[in-house]
């Protein structure tokens, strides 16, 4: 069964891939994309990055608070979607897995496809928390609500385990 004959460890981020001889990698065989989000300090860095984005948006003079919050939410969700669900493969060569990860998005590569891990739960919660904060700060205005909700759904639905590996209408398949 696939569980047994992997050479990838399940729960440690301290895994090397290969030598940096030519900038590429050799066959020591673990996809760093699957484990780097488990590293120490990622959650804090993520929160800090979103905070910095929000502060930048708040400092634009012609945006009021509600618009700044909605924009933070939208930009965060679009970035989340592009990096986790649109870009496929890895930014380095994968000599060891015969191209299996080339067709997978980053979300599908996290933790080697195992569902309901801590990292996945964190990445699922982040847009939800941002949505709640944005709804509060926009005083539940209907237009802002529609925008925030639609971007949140855009980001939450691909993270469902039922949609693992699913490409609707063949978009983004290859």
């Amino acid at each position: 069964m696939e569980q047994m004959d992997r050479t990838q460890p399940k729960d440690s981020p301290r895994v090397p891939v290969g030598t940096m001889g030519d900038g590429g990698t050799t066959y020591s065989g673990v996809n760093p994309n699957a484990v780097w989000l488990n590293s120490r300090g990622i959650w804090l860095s993520y929160v800090i990055a979103v905070t910095i984005l929000h502060l930048i948006l708040l400092s634009i003079p012609f945006l009021n608070v509600a618009q700044a919050w909605t924009l933070t939410n939208v930009v965060h969700n679009i970035g989340n979607y592009i990096f986790l669900h649109m870009l496929k493969g890895t930014p380095w060569e994968t000599n060891w897995d015969q191209g299996k990860s080339r067709l997978l998005t980053h979300w599908e590569q996290i933790d080697f496809g195992e569902q309901f891990t801590t990292t996945r739960k964190f990445l699922l919660l982040a847009p939800v928390i941002l949505f709640i904060l944005a709804s509060f700060y926009t005083k539940y205005d209907p237009l802002h609500f529609v925008v925030n909700l639609s971007t949140m759904l855009l980001v939450l639905i691909p993270k469902l385990p039922q949609l693992h590996g699913v490409r609707i209408f063949g978009i983004n398949k290859y």
Binding site: Q8, S12, P16, S28, G41
Partner: protein, 551 residues
């Protein structure tokens, strides 16, 4: 020994106040029996340190990589739109409508992160890599896409070569003997061991190796990587076998494991409890689907791990393997010649019987100044490997001068040449390693690994500091090896110093001053609990001075 807040039998590193979170002193799976080790074994096991990354440094590292990625996308956009010239391979205009040959995203990392700092690696040298070497200078006009030799070279202290006992010399008894072997046997062999390529020097080499390792017999191969990748399939070829492999094993071991049709399970680095847990699970559940018993279980570990500088906990592993009936494969590529009182490797370091380790593998590349690898063990095992190994069947045997270099250096280490030069080298290496590491820790760097290992990794963490450290030290005539992602985990980029018996105290002091200066300028002294200065330095060299007076 057991409690005291420091669980020395697992790999968990204590936090700043010595408290280890996941332990109450209980050792699982041993019926409450506390294994009785001599005191020095406990001391050895508690010498390893892997201080976790400070949180602020981790956040700044991610920020650094984030900026590099954003700028990478920006530069890629400029290249695509034609503003910037593209130096890497691109599709020809005629082939644009065909399915692309390369996925440009796969070379993103190489293009935008690695190439920018490419001058820190693969530096050509123009002398023998002993304690000092000549590094050729290179310049580039287009951001490291094309590097040009200037014709000049810098004499640098060599902290990058695996020259543990200093046998990488161009003159001396080893070189003379190798030249003699070249005259007698010729340069190459051009045949396999099983056909016409079995010379008397190969037999002598194998007997010397077996005597050195204190095992029954040994077989040698021309290439260290191939020793692992070609012999593990010969040992574990059948169905129903299981390999338990450490997560930080070298690529050759991983490749060898994958070339068999075995099930491979990976355990956490140097974590004996994890090994035991996986062994028990495997034995209880049996093979997948059929639940039959496993035919054999092999635990593959290394003596010293070259990226971490950690030493395998051998007595625990041997106890486990005897309890559960597994076999042990010990890859001593970095530990042979470097550990132990007389340089016999990890078994001597821990004081265990070499016959307890079923398969002792090692390479001649590191401590013997040659090339190739060996496997030592019982006569039955070696006879099997001589017949069934892919290397002895298909690969050319070791070249004679290389074999002679190994024989001569081994005899020097064993003291069979009548002098104590070998002992002196071993003591010098031990003194150098301890001194260097202690001084670095005192300066405030985060240093991984075991106090006794000659590999000293210093953590740099941030991507820009990888390049800055390498370049700054090169300016100060010190040649170091730096490693970053993806060879190491994302956050833990490091500079890896390899000590040698050929380094003198003066060289090391000069290097340490340069490292301290660069560390101050680059703010690399991250350690949150630096120890107080001690009189350690003089202690390290006391034994060496005694020996050199005798010699």
């Amino acid at each position: 020994m057991v409690g005291g807040g420091k669980n020395t039998l697992s790999g968990s590193a204590p936090t700043a106040n010595g408290h280890v979170k996941e332990s109450n002193g209980f050792i699982p799976h041993s019926n409450g029996h506390v294994p009785h080790y001599k005191d020095d074994k406990i001391k050895k096991m508690s010498q390893e340190s892997f201080e976790p990354v400070p949180l602020l440094v981790a956040c700044l590292t991610y920020l650094g990589y984030g900026m590099l990625v954003l700028f990478g996308y920006f530069r890629d956009f400029l290249r695509k739109s034609g503003v910037e010239t593209t130096h890497s391979t691109i599709e020809r205009k005629k082939m644009r409508d065909f399915v692309p040959l390369y996925q440009s995203f796969e070379s993103f990392y190489t293009r935008n992160l690695y190439t920018r700092i490419r001058d820190c690696w693969n530096r050509p040298i123009c002398s023998v890599p002993s304690a000092e070497f000549d590094v050729s200078e290179r310049v580039s006009n287009d951001g490291n896409w094309h590097l040009r030799l200037t014709g000049k070279s810098k004499r640098c202290v060599n902290l990058g070569s695996y020259n543990y006992l200093g046998f990488a010399e161009k003159s001396g008894p080893c070189a003379d003997a190798a030249a003699g072997a070249l005259q007698q046997y010729g340069a190459g062999v051009c045949s396999t061991r099983q056909e016409l390529g079995n010379y008397s020097i190969h037999e002598e080499l194998e007997q010397t190796t077996a005597r050195f390792l204190r095992v029954e017999d040994a077989v040698t191969f021309g290439m260290g990587f191939a020793t692992n990748s070609m012999n593990i399939p010969a040992l574990m070829g059948g169905k129903g076998c299981l390999i338990l492999s450490d997560e930080l094993n070298h690529a050759s071991l991983v490749l060898g494991a994958r070339l068999c049709s075995t099930v491979i399970k990976v355990f956490k680095h140097n974590d004996i409890e994890d090994v035991e847990r996986k062994l028990r699970e495997a034995i209880i559940n049996g093979q997948p689907r059929t639940h039959r018993a496993w035919r054999k279980i092999l635990i593959i570990v290394e003596g010293i791990y070259s990226m971490e500088g950690s030493i395998i906990k051998l007595p625990d592993l041997i106890r486990l393997k005897k309890k559960y009936g597994a076999y042990l494969y010990l890859d001593e590529a970095h530990s042979i010649g470097a550990l132990g009182e007389t340089g016999r490797g990890a078994t001597e370091y821990w004081g265990v019987d070499p016959r307890d380790v079923d398969i002792m593998m090692g390479t001649f590349t590191k401590s013997f100044g040659a090339a190739g690898g060996y496997i030592g063990g019982s006569k039955r095992l070696i006879n099997h490997l001589r017949a069934y190994s892919h290397s002895t069947t298909y690969a050319c045997s070791m070249s004679a001068p290389v074999a002679q270099q190994v024989i001569t250096s081994m005899k020097i280490i064993m003291g069979e040449d009548g002098t104590n030069r070998g002992q002196l080298r071993i003591k010098q290496l031990a003194a150098n390693s301890k001194y260097f590491r202690q001084r670095l820790v005192e300066m405030g760097f985060i240093v991984y690994g075991n106090d006794d290992s000659p590999i000293v990794p210093v953590l740099l963490y941030m991507p820009a500091k990888i390049a800055a450290f390498s370049r700054e030290l090169y300016q100060q005539n010190v040649g170091v090896v730096v490693v970053g992602f993806p060879a190491t985990p994302l956050v833990e980029s490091r500079a890896r110093f390899c000590l040698s018996a050929a380094h003198t105290r003066e060289m090391l002091d000069k290097v340490l001053d340069a490292i301290s200066d660069v560390g101050d300028r680059l703010q690399l002294k991250y350690s949150l609990n630096p120890p107080t200065k001690g009189v350690f330095a003089e202690e390290c060299y006391r034994q060496v001075d005694c020996l050199s007076h005798e010699a």
